[in-house]
Symmetry: C2
């Protein structure tokens, strides 16, 4: 096994250490490096403290050939990355004229006045290669020393991603890529990690040396990720595909997709294939199912809309749920879920409609219907399917799980209609 | 200034390095440690590789007194944390009878069969203090060596958080807390970081040594975070509050809240204070505004529901937008936004309604109405206010920004009605 180029990612900022923001940058950088065969081996977050940053640079340079640094480049005073690079490389800042021209035009285009702080954003360590940032005001920087590449990027995700995609990844690829790391994922819902593991134990034991398996549980789903390493793309693809084909029959009823598939994209494709349309009627999910569906670009092709019926009044007045149903069975009941789905199909004029009603928590539970009691329904032109969920004590988790199970109920309903046998 | 206890957080798992999951654990741990006066100074992520984990332990133990380790404790084979602790402490695993009893009862209660993998979860390094996990099957562990505390927790957020809250934080607090770190945040919307910085430059320069300022931009908002360090809670509170009071008048029109306030909680409080109700009519946000509002526990007190009118048919049939309006001005227009908001007020029978319609992207833009063109509206019993937004090229960002600006428009509208002068 040829070991690939090792990379480390360093994020700078007290806000990350103190937990004031969630860092999503390093996750994305990890996927991008992996895709070009550079192996992320460590991520480090340090605060806005020069000594801590210097020691993180020194340590990383002893282990890795690529060091990606994000954050600490904004115009305000808490940002010290550039000064620290100067100290690290024994150099100083000077205004880079190209960077200044770009930042000037950035402000001119937007008709905004440039401040002294913005001008200082064009001051760069003398030894850096300037990487123009067309998406913001803080330039990217590329340094090389003792065969280690240091890349410094702003922490704003939109700017960082564009700089990586357009400038940094092509350069890194040209310079380092040799071995290939490839992933295949199998995405399941409705089975726990250890039960899944039992079902595929023999297959897992027989995996070849160059293919590694990880279980990634997330809100009722478990993703099985196969990571293959090799030097020949074709052979690696074939080996991974063979393993996917071998494991699929063992757990088929739980698989909803592969690789980048999400329930909302899988459901979207099924709807398009069937020339069908969808609406939702949401109580406990409060619009979250609709928002997942519409997070997919092009969803207007099959998604008509939603009625979020948080109150009983909206359930009866807009969706046509019968008052007697609410009185007799309550808002959280199979009957109400059914009438919500059927009402949404009618009022939104769609092929299918899914409905959710439940007690998300933390309040509102009763001995009969504790927090986490949820009914979901899926109405079709012919009949309506319902399902009872017994979830957790956590509002956010309950909303996430309900939305996933509702999308999965729709998925299985559509597949059943096509006589494709699935779980 | 007494320096506080330093802590480092180590996460274990290839899935984090490769970017297969977003790590939210360390963010949360960072806030919790900070709250008890323990300063997070570094976060490190390493893969499922014994050598990398060992070197992370060794390095962290040279810098910090508290090391929190998460991940790598699941039942499946890719998890190696416990074995690595054994090697690090020169000890071995043995079945802990208390842990075994707990894991057995965990499965019994759920009527599930325990597998051999689950039994092995009760095997712990001999030198650890066993921390019972009442929320899952992987025990917590507490180690001490050379005045450094090592805590090992499962990576599942729900289990990790409960273990931290109920077991780990109280022990850490009892043992280490001396100095106090306190935060105050001022939350703004509608002004960029550097413009904010210019407005408060003099105030920032005059901040005392023990209070530090950070700018935390996030989706159209900038949070100003003041971090104070001291030994007397009362004095620190007073000092921080004085700074908040001093800076507020300089930027009042942009402030929507403080500390943990979010637009959805601020708006919720305003609605409750005014005995008012709310509905939404959403096109480009696809239910995301409703889902933000209902993410707040207790929102059923003021939130009636939403009509997500993704198609023109739903706009006319459910919300009563005139066909002529759509023909003459288009779905993305001031007129349509206005009629959507007014229609939602009627059909959902609410005091206020907010509406969104725009081109989220990446497709659907025209020269006249490029991607990022969005109209929002807020209907009240007396009149309807509208606002044009010119946003970005990114679907997710546009949905986020639109939802925030729509909530902010509602906030300002309610405040105006109360004759409270705000921006």
């Amino acid at each position: 096994m040829i070991s690939s180029t090792r990379a480390e990612i360093i994020t700078i900022g007290d806000e990350i250490l103190f937990g004031q923001i969630i860092d999503t940058n390093t996750q994305w950088i990890g996927t991008q490096l992996t895709d070009i065969g550079i192996r992320p081996t460590r991520k480090t977050s340090v605060g806005d403290n020069k000594q801590d940053i210097l020691s993180a640079f020194t340590e990383a340079s002893q282990r890795a050939s690529v060091i990606i640094v994000t954050g600490g480049l904004g115009p305000t005073r808490d940002d010290i990355t550039k000064h620290t690079f100067c100290e690290y490389f024994h150099t100083e800042l000077e205004i880079n004229q190209d960077a200044l021209a770009l930042v000037t035009s950035f402000f001119a285009k937007r008709g905004r006045v440039m401040t002294e702080l913005n001008i200082q954003q064009a001051a760069l360590p003398k030894n850096c290669t300037y990487i123009p940032n067309l998406w913001g005001t803080a330039p990217g920087m590329w340094f090389e020393k003792d065969n280690v590449v240091y890349v410094s990027l702003p922490g704003v995700p939109y700017e960082m991603k564009n700089l990586m995609e357009h400038e940094i990844l092509p350069r890194l690829k040209a310079r380092f890529s040799t071995t290939i790391i490839q992933h295949k994922s199998i995405r399941t819902i409705g089975i726990g990690e250890s039960f899944l593991a039992e079902k595929i134990a023999d297959w897992e034991t027989a995996l070849p040396e160059h293919i590694k398996l990880a279980y990634l549980p997330h809100f009722g789903q478990v993703r099985l990720r196969l990571t293959g390493t090799g030097t020949d793309q074709g052979i690696l693809d074939r080996d991974l595909q063979a393993q996917v084909s071998a494991v699929t029959p063992l757990i088929e009823e739980f698989i909803f997709g592969y690789d980048l598939d999400e329930l909302e994209t899988v459901v979207g494709s099924l709807l398009k294939e069937n020339n069908a349309t969808l609406g939702t009627a949401e109580s406990c999910t409060g619009g979250y199912v609709a928002s997942r569906i519409t997070s997919v670009s092009g969803s207007s092709q099959y998604f008509e809309g939603s009625v979020v019926s948080y109150s009983n009044a909206v359930k009866t007045n807009v969706l046509g749920v019968k008052k007697e149903t609410l009185l007799e069975f309550g808002a959280v009941s199979e009957q109400t879920a059914r009438e919500m789905a059927e009402g949404a199909r009618k009022v939104l004029n769609t092929t299918f409609a899914i409905a959710t009603t439940g007690i998300a928590g933390p309040d509102g539970g009763t001995p009969d219907k504790p927090v986490g009691t949820v009914w979901i329904a899926c109405a079709t032109p012919n009949e309506t399917f319902t399902q009872l969920l017994s979830l957790r004590n956590d509002r956010k988790i309950n909303i996430e799980l309900t939305s996933s199970y509702a999308l999965n109920l729709l998925r299985k309903t559509i597949l059943k209609g096509n006589l494709i046998v699935q779980g």
